[in-house]
């Protein structure tokens, strides 16, 4: 459907944000995914989040690997640079891009094949390096572009469309991300935009490695009875830990909650995360109890969603490398080249 050109005409009643952009200015090309694909809902949530954050589109770079999910960056934020890279290797490309220019916002989009199989190593290492990024896995438990093979996030006992039962253990990316030191970890559902949009906004505002696992049913190959990644299954087993309101640094706080009902987390940029508790005993700033809680609920077959962990004052890769504040790609010749005098001294030391 790439031959269809999206009309540039906008409805006059579309509300512009603080930058004067309407929601449609954050759109991309027409999606070529299947009608009803969960991934398109995630693209819509990303568009909504960027619009609500008043994000200058060119200050964000979107990177992806290979697969259905990795095609989606072409379908949102058309005024942002995008990079459809190599299967399973988006994290390293994003790490390099981030090293080159610390000032941009980096959005990594990947799938369960891309991140949990071929790219599991890169997923792990980009997180343990605390790359400042928002890493979204559009998780459908299946290989879509190659037509229906199980992925590594398929649950044991789940059935493929052809009726084959998966016996392999599933990889829990959320559990891994927690263990590897991601400082923002969330899970959501492509069918729950109200939950997903504030999570994306909070993740983008977070400094450090933010990871969001979004269960995103594949309508073509993994939406049948017996699948644990279908719309019906996820709706029936969704156990939300909390509901997030994302409040931008300068926004006025207008809604009050009864004490005990809400947890307030302030991030390094001044943004405030107000978490309305659904599970009363869940504390998303306590990693150990978060891991325990997750394991418990997952054992019962529940899909735990919400903001699962946040470390509001995390350090990132540049803090660890102690790099200059000026982006490395903007240093000029004088800052980079030590010159002939320094070279003479080096020559002298080598005689």
């Amino acid at each position: 459907m790439t031959y269809i050109t999206k009309p540039r005409l906008h409805h006059p009643l579309l509300q512009p944000n603080a930058l004067g952009f309407t929601r449609r200015d954050y759109e991309g090309k027409v999606s070529t995914l299947c009608a009803g694909c969960g991934h398109d809902s995630i693209s819509a949530a990303i568009i909504q989040a960027a619009y609500e954050l008043d994000l200058p589109p060119h200050r964000l770079a979107k990177l992806s690997g290979i697969g259905c999910s990795s095609k989606t960056p072409d379908y949102f934020l058309g005024n942002s640079h995008g990079f459809n890279s190599v299967h399973g290797r988006m994290p390293s490309v994003l790490t390099g891009a981030n090293a080159a220019n610390r000032e941009l916002i980096y959005l990594g989009v990947s799938g369960d094949g891309d991140s949990a199989s071929i790219g599991l190593g890169q997923f792990a290492h980009s997180i343990r390096r605390s790359v400042n990024m928002t890493y979204i896995v559009e998780n459908n438990g299946v290989y879509g572009l190659t037509k229906g093979q199980f992925s590594a996030t398929s649950d044991p006992g789940s059935k493929s469309k052809r009726g084959v039962v998966n016996h392999d253990q599933s990889i829990d990316l959320v559990g891994l991300a927690l263990q590897l030191g991601a400082s923002f970890v969330a899970r959501s559902f492509s069918g729950d935009k109200a939950q997903l949009v504030p999570l994306i906004k909070a993740a983008i505002s977070h400094k450090g490695a933010s990871f969001i696992d979004v269960i995103s049913p594949c309508v073509q190959f993994n939406n049948h009875v017996g699948s644990t990644k279908s719309f019906d299954y996820v709706r029936e087993h969704n156990a939300a830990m909390n509901r997030l309101d994302f409040i931008e640094p300068r926004a006025e706080i207008t809604v009050d909650y009864a004490p005990g009902e809400v947890e307030v987390v302030k991030q390094h940029d001044g943004s405030i995360l107000r978490l309305r508790k659904v599970a009363p005993d869940y504390d998303p700033t306590d990693k150990i109890s978060a891991i325990t809680h997750l394991q418990l609920h997952q054992m019962r077959g529940e899909v735990v969603t919400g903001l699962l962990y946040v470390e509001p004052d995390a350090a990132d890769l540049h803090d660890h490398l102690h790099t200059v504040q000026t982006p490395l790609n903007q240093l000029d010749d004088a800052e980079l080249i030590p010159g002939s005098l320094a070279l003479d001294a080096i020559n002298d030391s080598l005689r």
């Binding site: 995008g82 994003l94 080159a100 190593g121 890169q122 102690h322 080249i337 030590p338």
Partner: protein, 611 residues
């Protein structure tokens, strides 16, 4: 009859890996340089940290021949019982064997046609030191002191080197000087000076003595590299470590102490090249350093860099393959791997430095080329250049030189309405303009993917669009020919139908071989190739000669293949001369091979015999 030679002989040290011999042997080599005599020293070491045999070969050559000579050695310092027999066997008739005579050895362990010089080094150490580590370390210094007496290295030269080495650590200076004196005194009491003599000369000039890996890393600093992503692999590891060390000194913001560089140790070679490609896409000069096994792993990304046209630099410090192959042995066997890296129709510029001075030059140039050509550029070192200290001309930098960032559209370009097509050839040189992420709020953004897009980076799988893009990439490769450093000719003294093409670390042995051949009345024009794609001069040279020997350090004559394929040259015209046993190719081997072929006895290549 014992050998006699002044400033022209080979000394080989046979040691046990991890015994601390490297610094003592290095001091020996440097002391010869400080006497104004050129030296070429090579480590021949195993893939091991402690226990296996290791050798250090020092060629003393007032004539300035810095390649390996070949043949036996004039003086063997045999400090390793494991390799005693082969070490004794490798001494030239009339040569000298220096050994630790603390334990008596049966006469059958020696040869009648060599001169044996025994000193009870272990006994001397045991009497002087109680600490086992000191006994081991100072034994090395003691034999350097003894050798200095035997061949006539000036005492003051060694003393200066010790003082430079230990700086303000007075105790270490004193103890090392004491050990040198012990060796010298023991030799003076027990042995007479030998026929191999050092005589002060003035043949070193302003040259420097440095490892190629360190030089290439310094080149990367001067070439403006800011991102280094790498994974440890012999023999390239010291390049990344040297880059880090150079940057700590040269790239730290003097006010804030912050780093104007980022060094990231990847989880593997794939991540390393991924980081480089990501940084290159985002406008930082980035590189990785690796060896053949690493380049194998990087193939997919190198192809992406080729098609998506993203600058990247790879330093390939070549070694014997495969992964469990000969990691500490030198070869030039990644030429084809690098030239045609990746799937699909791809080819990449290569640079072939001949010594550390050129490692520096090409280390810097590679980043200009990568930005200009928007592709991966390989700098092809090898273990011999990378991990050995070489005597070479000093590093040079012209302060008026600016980094060539290539075709990058700025905010102003976009603002004034310049047409931007990411893969649009506007200048006719096959190179399109690129933009960097974040450049402009409304213009210049594009979606990067391999092919399947048109000149404006819009999705397209149409055949003619694909073909047009592939043709443009070929045109770009033609442009690259004009940017690769031209070959360096070394014409014979007489007009000759015979030529020889060579590259990289083969050069010094090759030049010596050309001299040796000339002394035999065999005239061969030499041409040192400095990169790929081949400039027109390379093809003109081949055209101008009836027979061209292609001298290289691999089994399959890889440079020859490249010349045949890319230049459409008749294979019969290109005669391979191949040394690939893992030790650096020698002048005598090349000489013998070429003169044998010239006599028409055979054209079948025979490998360099292991020594």
């Amino acid at each position: 009859m014992s050998l006699a030679a002044v400033n022209d002989f080979v000394v080989k040290f046979a040691n046990v890996n991890g015994s601390g011999s490297a610094s003592a042997n290095g001091m020996f080599a440097k002391s010869i340089l400080r006497m104004g005599v050129p030296v070429a020293a090579r480590n021949i070491f195993p893939s091991n940290i402690q226990g296996l045999p290791t050798w250090y070969e020092v060629r003393v050559s007032e004539a300035g021949y810095l390649g390996r000579r070949g043949g036996g050695v004039e003086l063997m310092v045999a400090m390793n019982p494991q390799t005693w027999d082969q070490d004794v066997a490798s001494i030239e008739p009339g040569g000298y064997l220096f050994y630790d005579s603390s334990k008596p050895l049966p006469p059958a362990k020696f040869r009648n046609d060599i001169e044996v010089l025994g000193l009870p080094l272990t006994a001397i150490c045991n009497a002087a030191y109680t600490d086992p580590r000191q006994r081991q370390l100072f034994k090395n210094i003691i034999y350097v002191g003894a050798l200095a007496h035997l061949i006539g290295i000036e005492e003051s030269v060694l003393e200066t080197l010790v003082r430079e080495e230990f700086g303000s650590k007075v105790a270490l200076i004193d103890s090392n000087l004491k050990a040198l004196a012990m060796g010298r005194d023991a030799a003076a009491e027990n042995l007479a000076p030998i026929g191999l003599r050092m005589r002060r000369a003035d043949k070193v000039g302003d040259r420097i003595y440095v490892e190629g890996n360190s030089a290439a890393a310094l080149g990367a600093v001067y070439g403006g590299a800011t991102v280094c992503a790498w994974y440890p692999i012999t023999p390239s590891t010291s390049l990344a470590e040297a880059f880090t060390a150079h940057c700590q000194k040269l790239r730290t913001d003097p006010k804030t102490g912050e780093a104007r560089y980022a060094v990231i140790q990847g989880e593997d070679e794939i991540a390393s090249i991924g980081i480089v490609v990501g940084a290159g896409w985002n406008g930082a000069r980035a590189f990785t350093c690796t060896s053949g096994p690493g380049v194998s792993l990087m193939q997919e990304f190198v192809g992406l860099s080729y098609f998506a046209e993203i600058p990247a630099v790879i330093f390939d410090v070549q070694r014997g393959g495969p992964s469990t192959g000969m990691p500490t042995r030198t070869q030039q066997s990644d030429v084809l791997l690098a030239a045609y890296a990746s799937h699909g129709d791809t080819k990449h510029p290569l640079l072939f430095p001949e010594d550390p001075a050129e490692c520096f030059d090409f280390g810097a140039l590679a980043f200009d080329l990568a930005d200009r050509l928007q592709t991966t550029v390989f700098v092809m070192l090898d273990l011999d250049i990378g991990m050995n200290e070489w005597l070479c001309r000093p590093f040079r930098w012209d302060d008026s030189r600016k980094l060539d960032r290539g075709k990058v559209m700025t905010y102003d370009d976009l603002e004034t309405g310049k047409v931007f097509g990411r893969y649009l050839d506007v200048d006719g040189d096959g190179i399109a303009y690129r933009t960097l992420p974040g450049v402009h709020p409304e213009r210049g953004a594009y979606f990067t993917r391999g092919t399947s897009r048109d000149p404006y980076a819009r999705y397209s799988e149409e055949g003619p669009v694909y073909v047009a893009n592939m043709q443009r990439l070929l045109k770009k490769f033609e442009t690259a020919k004009t940017l690769i450093p031209a070959p360096v000719a070394r014409p014979a003294k007489r007009r000759t139908p015979h030529g020889a093409v060579y590259f990289g670390s083969t050069t010094p042995a090759m030049h010596e071989a050309l001299d040796l051949l000339e002394a035999q009345g065999v005239h061969v024009d030499g041409l040192r190739v400095r990169g790929f794609p081949f400039n027109d001069e390379v093809m003109a040279f081949i055209e101008a000669h009836e027979t061209v020997f292609v001298v290289e350090q691999n089994r399959d004559a890889q440079l020859r293949t490249l010349i045949m394929v890319e230049g459409g040259v008749d294979p019969a015209k290109l005669v391979p001369v191949l040394g690939y046993d893992g030790s650096p190719i020698t002048a005598r081997f090349i000489t013998d091979e070429i003169s044998r072929r010239m006599q028409g006895s055979s054209v079948t290549p025979t490998p360099q015999a292991a020594e």
